[in-house]
Amino acid sequence: MDNNLGIYICSGCDIGKSLNVERLVNTAKDSNKPVVCISHDFLCGPEGLNLIKTDISEKKINKLVIAACSMRAKQDVFNFDPLTIHTERVNLREHVIWISPSNDNNTQLLAEDYVNMGASRAKKAAFPEPLIQDLNKTVLVVGGGVTGLNAAINSVKAGYNVVLVEKKSNLGGFPYSKYKKWETVPPFDKNIWIKEGLDQLINSVENSEKIKIYKNSKIKSVSGAPGKFNVEIEASAEDNKAEAATETIGSIVVATGWKPYEAKKLDYLGYGLTPDILTNVELEEFYSELSDKGKSDSFGVVRKSNGDKVKSIAFIQCAGSRDENHLPYCSTVCCMSSLKEAALIRKNNPEANVYIIYKDIRTPGEYENFYRKMQDDEGIFMVKGAISEVSYDKGNNIIDIKVKDTLFGGDIDLNVEMLVLASGMVPNSGDDVLNQEINLNSNSAQSASGASCPPSIPVSTAQVAKSGLLNLTYRQGKEMPDLAYGFPDSNFICFPYESRRTGIYPAGSVRMPLDTVFSVDDAKGAVLKAIQCVEQTSKGKAVHPRSNDTTYPFFDLPRCTQCKRCTEECPFGAIDEDEKGTPKYNPERCRRCGVCMGACPVRIISFKNYSPDIVASMIKSLYIPEDPTDENYRILVFACENDAYPALDILGLNKINLSSNIRVIPVRCLGSINNVWYADALSKGIDGILLLGCKFGDDYQCHFVKGSELASYRMGNLKETLTRLVLEEERVRQIQLEFTDYMKLPEIVEDFVNKIKSLGPNPYKGF
């Protein structure tokens, strides 16, 4: 490959006033031997741009260094075909002149270093070679309930084929056993029959030529990657005769729904004492069966224990939910469910009294209409309180409920004939096998506010302790990693469908407690992500969060030592391994974060435009003055491209000064930092290294999930290296920084620079 380097230095936006641009051009020429090196006072204007374009066509410039503003600005102007031209942006404005004193030798040295680093990277960078391939685009939908049926039919409507796998003999899932649901359109204040709509949906799915249905079936295994999943399907139980099959699949929607919380664990609320104490699901099933027998208006009329007419019935809300000993979360649907059931009882049996005992009534949005209507019903009593005891008087066949902390101030006793426990939803996200979470001792990093982070955060990098649902053949475990309580990711507020297994998207109540109304929407969203994944992947493009990135890591396997770090640490389970432990990389599962590159101790993993060698050459290009004066300290900063780098930009926009001792290298993720860079930097004479990256822990903000946490963990190994070199471990520090923490940067940097100064210069300087 020809390397025709062109360096273009903009002197606009006061760059020319603050720096000696002539000197900058000369040092850039001397250090980098470019084909072209010029300055212009308005590089992003038509004339400046034209200069570059002319050089590209006449001088065959294919490695551009644009030393001007941030890579976040004017991207639409400096926009050249990435497959034939490498564009390296050097940030002389936000990261140099806007945060440093004008016409100052240190500012000049800062600019020169940045230009040289940019040129070094441009020279080493190769062009991406997108992995364009014909891929299978069939959507596999696991689960034939409301969410699964909607996912299937909506995939077809978008033009895609579907394979639907349902473990039971019939489609329809959980709600099929339900009697009625609430109105699914505004004003949400009526009850409607559920079965009619569902029957129609089931019919259209069953009659669709584009949907292949496997009933009585489950997934035996899923191997491969998006666009080329190999899915083995088998009978869901030994006693059914469903035949085994294999399907090639593009992407997967997991719509396995929920199961009711185990009723026998609700014995503290009287479950088991009498048939008249039953869960909300059992209530629906009981009356649904009667209705199937022709007694269509029997809901809430017949008493379960003796067939008499019911006179009083109570609901206990949050039976098991919002309780740290049971389900710590709110199951979301139970308030509306109980109100709906209360309405049905009152309609069919107007003499019955209904009591709803609750902590908070949760009827969000326009569902409030339904609650308001119920509040107007004189036969429905809303009782805010906590249950102190439920007992059963067998002689009188009466249930006694003691409620404390009521609105009336005191405790009350309720005697009712039936009691419904509004029990919660548990996601069907696979069966727990054994918990092999590894506790990796992460070393403590400080947060921007100065507080120390939790010293030890369990990094579950490898095992996912579940099975039985997708049975992935992935090296990192059989199921989707849990976020909390069995619900899989997403942990991202802006990106609700982010999943840690590329091409596999959970939907409906397996993902979060959702009612049928919102499960339909959720199914559609997940289908969009599923088809988007195969479309992007077939064009050789990454999916979120590095959407459109056409680079991917290359593994130089002959040099691999089978240490398995990459296969363990990939946050997305993209890398399998063979029997010997050699990585088997799946580009279609990869999100291009570079965590594997950071993990590799023998540096065999690299991207075309981002590699251990490229960054090493950037570090090598730095000028390290030997004279141990304050201004000659050099601090290398690795900054997360998404948050820390923009935070530095915004500091620049606000023209707030930052120490000129620092040299910033943007990284895809702190997790992509290879430990060799620390050694490179320290042996070069860099005095300290600062990592600016995302928050980790439960509320992690790292968009590669584990990247910043892994960087922190790996610093544990680094400390041994430092000790061996007789260097203080304080010379490397990681700070968790948010996008909007830019005002904290001057203090963070100054604090670190002072620390380094107190340690004195790097003794390797000048070697």
Partner: protein
């Protein structure tokens, strides 16, 4: 799905979180053109004015940065933005192929040459109330609307710029980026689908006479509280009350200010409980001696958000009072507020003194008001319910909604609804 390319584009009205999300989800799945019409001069919407998102307490700019990167890195360049623009007319095409839409774009005084160097604002002699900070401070009449915007450029406030009488900014700009003589643009587009992603505004809480907003300086709204807490807000992230810039510790949060009230917003705005819990935590973090009190009817923290409620409840300085605030009056001497509270749990009537009151103003969907300004061909059915939401999509017509235009939703669920709307658009394309 390249064959879809030659059809008419999709129109997305509203460039907030939902609109931008829908545009990205569509264009990353199919090679289709999307036009986003946004009334402000930048995209990102109201969420950018939030200090942090619940429940993670992470800054909105983080996700927004990823979204702008997704836009910039797209090689197909399929997302077009019309900022400072409003839709004026929607006419149904007789052949059923979609809609002809007329869009009015305010004069673009600043062109793409702008480098955000800031020289213009330095010389601008005029100032304006800063709407990004809910008018709690001012900017120059030529200004950057937020710390990071897309498109990245300055904007001119027509109501405060003196135009030809001044022109100092034009003279100061070295890049020919400012032209105060440009005219507005009228843009006509033929589109085949429309997504309403028109978002919301805080309910006009001055209509709640008894709560004193507008009369008493230290009664503010929840959206203002976000700006007070924000490091890039009018107080640099210190929670200071408006009357005397005193740092507050005793703050009352009043839930359902307008919501769940048949005379105001009959529905529950769904986000305010989480928002107030979040703001109570802001206060606790910024001021260790602070003691927020939350007055509520029901605490609504669905699903995993229950964790967030537990987190707030575990802080003993945060008090919860299931009670209705009947009336607020002001203590003239101190600027403090006196609340008449009916404690629902005890039934007692109490007085409560607070240094500042934050009203949890409900979400008022914009679409009903927006549609008043749009001339619509009578044949088009936009199914707006009595509360002003478009919950039902009109698949045949290709009219969809996302985010708070659809239902009172938080950011997470807005993203979900935008993704779902993106699929609807693709399905409609397939059918055409």
């Amino acid at each position: 799905m390249n064959e879809l390319n030659n059809e008419n584009p999709v129109l997305i009205i509203g460039g907030g979180h939902s609109g931008v999300s829908a545009a990205l989800e569509i264009t990353e799945a199919v090679n289709k053109k999307v036009y986003i019409v946004e009334k402000k001069s930048y995209i990102g919407g109201r969420v950018l004015q939030m200090y942090k998102y619940f429940p993670k307490l992470c800054p909105p700019f983080c996700g927004f940065e990823i979204n702008t990167k997704r836009i910039k890195s797209s090689t197909e360049d399929n997302i077009k933005f019309l900022v400072s623009s409003t839709v004026e007319e929607i006419n149904k095409e007789k052949d059923g192929s979609g809609y002809k839409v007329k869009i009015r774009q305010k004069p673009q005084y600043i062109n793409d040459n702008c480098t955000v160097c800031g020289e213009c604002a330095k010389v601008c002699p005029e100032s304006r109330p800063n709407d990004f900070n809910y008018d709690m401070d001012t900017t120059k009449a030529i200004y950057m609307p937020a710390i990071s915007t897309y498109p990245l450029k300055y904007t001119v406030d027509e109501n405060y710029c003196k135009f030809t009488a001044c022109k100092k900014c034009e003279e100061a700009c070295k890049y020919g980026a400012i032209n105060l003589n440009v005219q507005e643009n009228i843009i006509e587009l033929k589109v085949s689908e429309i997504i309403f992603a028109t978002g919301w505004k805080p309910y006009a809480v001055e209509k709640l006479d008894n709560l004193g907003y507008g009369k008493f300086k230290n009664v503010i709204t929840n959206v203002m509280m976000e700006r007070l807490a924000a490091d890039n807000g009018p107080t640099g992230g210190k929670i200071l009350r408006p009357s005397d810039n005193k740092e507050v510790s005793n703050v009352a949060f009043i839930q359902c200010a307008g919501s769940r009230n048949e005379n105001h917003l009959p529905y529950c705005s769904a986000i305010c409980c989480m928002a107030s819990l979040k703001q109570a935590l802001y206060l606790r973090e910024k001021n260790p001696v602070s003691s927020p009190t939350i007055f509520y009817i029901d605490l609504r923290t669905p699903g995993r958000y229950e964790n967030f409620l537990n987190r707030a409840e575990s802080d003993k300085n945060i008090k919860f009072n299931k009670g209705i605030v009947g009336k607020i009056s002001e203590d003239n001497a101190t600027g403090d507020l006196l609340l008449d509270v009916e404690d629902i749990l005890s039934g007692k009537k109490n007085k409560f003194r607070a240094e500042m009151v934050v009203l949890a103003a409900g979400m008022h969907p914009n679409i009903k008001d927006d549609l008043k300004g749009i001339k619509i061909d009578g044949d088009i059915k936009i199914d707006i319910d009595e509360n002003g939401f478009i919950f039902n999509e009109n698949f045949e017509a290709g009219i969809f909604s996302a985010g708070v235009a659809k239902f009172p939703l938080d950011v997470y669920m807005s993203g979900q609804s935008a993704t779902s709307a993106a699929l609807s658009v693709i399905q409609h394309k397939v059918k055409l």
